[in-house]
């Protein structure tokens, strides 16, 4: 049987490892989406555009600083900050006036931003493909169980859990995180005890945007940076957030794992339509647990 032979070949393990590094990116982006959805109740369609801007901004920073290790690491920090600034402008300039509106209107507003940002990226960076080479430090591969795994993928595998722990600490161990969770449940009450809810919302949106930008910057060396890279990602992010459970950080991690792994293994089993497997997994999850795997934390 062809399928079975593919599935149990030596390539499977390396495919799993590749899938895991993809999971990292999905997790970083979807945790940002989940955060914004959980606190602000906005299904942010522009999240994918922020991710794309992150990738393009990383490219620009590297053009500016050179492709060495310093330039690369600087890009990984500066690009998300640029995206966070864009998020700040969007939140303060538009969303902060419109939280009372229906969710449908907010979703369409984020879609209009996705359209506008998409064209702005086209104007600023042009329609050509861009690419970033991994600095010498990350080139080559490590041997894991006798299989080569690129250092950069390994780097991503380390970054992912770090981000997860960092987010968990921010949300559960800082005052800001606690207030944000409270504001998600009852913003009016939080306002009544004298806390400026607007700025909590702004903080959440900026943090979510930062994560989108970080995801874009981190994936930049692995893909062609191009217009439209936001389009498929945003749908995957939606699904991850849905199966993970609203606003649940661990849910986003679990959802990303399911999505990343079924995708990479699916491609192994059936190259042309491997893309369908994550969707089937999602449908299976939702048939069993319509509200997502983990309960929402707030």
């Amino acid at each position: 049987m062809d399928f079975a032979a593919n599935l149990f070949s030596a390539g499977t393990l390396s495919q799993i490892l590749v899938g895991l590094s993809r999971t990292t990116i999905l997790f970083i982006v979807s945790s940002g989406m989940s955060l914004i959805l959980g606190v602000l109740r906005i299904p942010n369609v522009a999240h994918g555009s922020l991710y794309m801007i992150g990738a393009f901004a990383a490219w620009s920073v590297i053009q500016f600083l050179g492709g060495g290790l310093f330039g690369f690491l600087a890009a990984m920090i500066v690009a998300p900050l640029i995206v966070a600034a864009v998020g700040f402008v969007l939140e303060r300039g538009f969303f902060s006036y419109l939280y009372e509106r229906e969710h449908l209107m907010l979703l369409l507003l984020t879609f209009s931003f996705a359209l506008i940002l998409g064209d702005l990226v086209k104007i600023v960076w042009g329609p050509e493909y861009r690419s970033i080479t991994v600095p010498a430090f990350f080139q080559g591969s490590a041997e894991i169980f006798g299989l080569p795994l690129p250092w950069y993928n390994l780097f991503l595998l380390v970054i992912g859990p770090c981000i997860a722990v960092f987010l968990w600490l921010v949300i559960n161990r800082t005052n800001l995180g606690k207030i944000a969770r409270a504001a998600a449940v009852d913003g009016e009450m939080v306002g009544a005890v004298g806390i400026n809810v607007g700025w909590i919302f702004a903080f959440t949106f900026v943090l979510g945007s930062f994560l989108a930008g970080l995801g874009g910057a981190l994936i930049a060396p692995m893909v062609n940076i191009s217009l439209g890279m936001d389009h498929s990602l945003i749908m995957e992010t939606f699904l991850i957030v849905i199966i993970g459970g609203l606003g649940n950080m661990w849910g986003a991690l679990l959802g990303s794992l399911i999505f990343g792994l079924t995708q990479s293994l699916g491609i192994l089993v059936w190259p042309q339509f491997g893309i369908a497997f994550p969707y089937l997994a999602v449908v299976a999850v939702l048939v069993i647990r319509p509200r997502g795997l983990l309960s929402s934390t707030w």
Binding site: R41, P43, V45, F94, Y97, L98, R101, E102, H103, L104, M105, L107, L108, L109, F111, S112, F113, A114, L115, I116, G118, D119, L120, K122, I123, H231, S232, M235, E236, F238, L239, V241, I242, Q272, F273, I275, A276, Y279, V282, V283, L286, V287, P290, R291
Partner: protein, 310 residues
């Protein structure tokens, strides 16, 4: 709108539309046909979102499946054309039912998010399945029956089918069934309490919306004699939603107005600029901030709605 004036206005509009291909050049007739079928598409979406209150975010998928169903039947099966024109919409309705069964259990916003992302799977499959759907090239040069192959023939066919479908949908929203789905939109809990099977009515409404969306897709095949995967891409789904919003979601004829405006604007814009997204995004932002009830919604009373609809 003044009630006694409305039928007269419609008759005038119909007369103008009938005379149109004899007055305007060929390209304008083609645009008019696209406007008509897009208006049908937007109105069918409005059945689900405006009248039933379901966040149908992936409507373009049914449009695309309707078009592909018809196109594949016309090119690959030896069946007569009328069968092909029935298969497309029925396939769209069947998909609508299947997706509805999966999505309906989720609450409002999640329903929409799941639907749009499952819809993107349909797009991805069509996009990659070269041997069957033609992949990202789509299918071109679809053979049409002689009667509707000419520009005028396809225009009149589109006009009559659109008019028929709009009339059918108008009757549906005015029927007892239509009243029930509007009741569900306004208050699903209360509707359930008086013995309405909420899920069943929602599903029925989704299937009807999917069917008419599929009809619009079949008409696209007639007008364009080609199909391509981007007509079911998720951004187009939201664009159709914008048409509904722009025209007024809680009115029957609003989506017609919105669809005409967006299609004409797009044709106009494509001549002058490459940045359609920038234009549409700006318009949408302005509409959301200043005209949340849409153009026609300004003239009609908005139905009572619940405050929270998460």
């Amino acid at each position: 709108m003044n009630r006694s004036a409305a039928p007269l206005l419609l008759l005038l509009l119909l007369a103008a539309l009938l005379a149109l291909p004899h007055v305007l050049p060929r390209f304008h007739t083609y645009i008019a046909a696209i406007v008509l079928l897009t208006a049908l598409l937007a109105t069918s979406l409005n059945l689900a979102i405006g009248y039933t209150g379901l966040y149908q975010f992936g409507h373009a998928v049914f449009y695309g499946v309707g078009a592909y169903g018809t196109a594949l039947m016309l090119t690959r099966s030896g069946m007569p054309a009328p069968v092909a024109f029935l298969v497309g919409p029925l396939a769209a309705a069947a998909l609508s039912l299947a997706m509805g069964l999966i999505c309906i259990r989720l609450s409002k916003l999640y329903f929409g998010m799941l639907q749009i992302s499952l819809g993107s799977l349909v797009w991805a499959v069509v996009y990659r399945w070269y041997s069957f759907t033609g992949g990202d090239d789509g299918i071109h040069g679809i053979p049409l029956p002689d009667a509707i192959a000419s520009p005028k023939g396809s225009y009149y066919f589109t006009l009559s089918v659109t008019a028929l479908c709009l009339f059918a949908m108008y009757r549906i929203v005015r029927s007892p069934f239509g009243k029930v789905i509007q009741g569900i939109r306004d208050n699903p809990v209360r509707a359930a309490a008086i013995g309405v099977d909420v899920r069943l009515h929602q599903l029925a409404s989704l299937v009807i919306a999917g069917f008419f969306g599929g009809v619009a897709g079949s008409l696209f095949v007639v007008v364009e004699s080609s199909v391509f995967p981007d007509m079911m891409f998720w951004t187009f789904s939201l664009e159709v939603l914008i048409m509904c919003l722009l025209g007024g979601m809680y009115t029957f004829f609003g989506p017609l107005v919105g669809a005409s405006a967006i299609v004409l604007l797009r044709v106009f814009a494509s001549v002058h600029t490459r940045y359609w997204g920038l234009i549409l995004g700006t318009i949408l932002t302005l509409v959301i901030i200043f005209l949340p009830d849409g153009v026609l919604g300004v003239f009609s009373r908005r139905p009572l709605k619940e405050d929270s609809d998460a």
